[in-house]
Symmetry: C2
């Protein structure tokens, strides 16, 4: 399961285009990565993004999980590379700082800010929200707290 | 740096075709994975293999290394998938058992057996030897010790 989020970042406000999750399905590893690659190819073909951003994440549960994450991440980057798209990477800290203004913001705060910044009518799925947050971070050049104070009341980096 | 090894497994003995390493070069992650993907695409285009086997390995040094390995591995599997090739996976234990007859064989023993089984004139590079060993394991259906006693003197799973 790999979340994706697509936004339009022109001269004005950010605009939500699409988000969702690509399921890698079941079966052996090659089949799962194939499903992921094809799913991401479809998303790229449909929405024709011009740049890709991926989050630098660790699943520090065990090496098996980290390996699986790396394989999915390598596959996602391959999908971007095959479409000739440049790929930027941001740490979770950078994403949170850019979106919430606090690198240690909670998941719910990130989701809330994603919803507000993109004027979404409802909450996106957690994986999709993470992907949209990464896209927002990229749209602002990974700048720290780029949006943190725009019309929002913040206190110690948290929304109040 | 990703080792590869290509062998022909017909009705008779195994035949060495090619081996080497694809360098992923320098630069950011996407560029390195791109170089790896393109390098493997070239190897596949040149030698037209019909099946691919990859080793299930862990680098248990730290999560960063495991993630990097996973990304390279995901990319290698993407190269196979894009060429429509089936991918098999074998653990290091299976590979060693199949090639040396001892799942806990040392690296040098594996290299030595790869050299003998494929009648190589010299030692292949370590990464290439590992890849050839994995190919040999696959050629024998991952069977344990498939070749361990063919004209070789073994004692407790070691060559004597």
């Amino acid at each position: 399961m790999t979340g994706f989020g697509i936004i339009e970042a022109g001269s004005g406000a950010l605009r939500y285009i699409a988000s969702g999750c690509v399921k890698s399905g079941k079966g052996d590893l090659a089949l799962r990565l194939k499903a992921l690659l094809e799913g991401l190819n479809e998303v790229i073909a449909e929405h024709v993004p011009v740049e890709v951003a991926v989050e630098k994440v660790f699943v520090n549960v065990n090496p098996q999980s980290t390996l699986a994450l790396g394989q999915a991440r390598g596959t996602a980057i391959c999908a971007a590379v095959l479409a000739g798209l440049p790929v930027a990477e941001y740490t979770a800290l950078q994403v949170k700082q850019s979106v919430v203004g606090n690198g240690h913001a909670k998941k719910e705060q990130v989701q809330h800010m994603v919803k507000r910044l993109l004027a979404l009518p409802g909450d996106p799925a957690p994986d999709a929200a993470d992907a949209l947050a990464c896209a927002i971070c990229h749209a602002h050049g990974g700048r720290i707290g780029a949006f943190s104070t725009r019309g929002l009341r913040m206190k110690k980096g948290r929304l109040v």
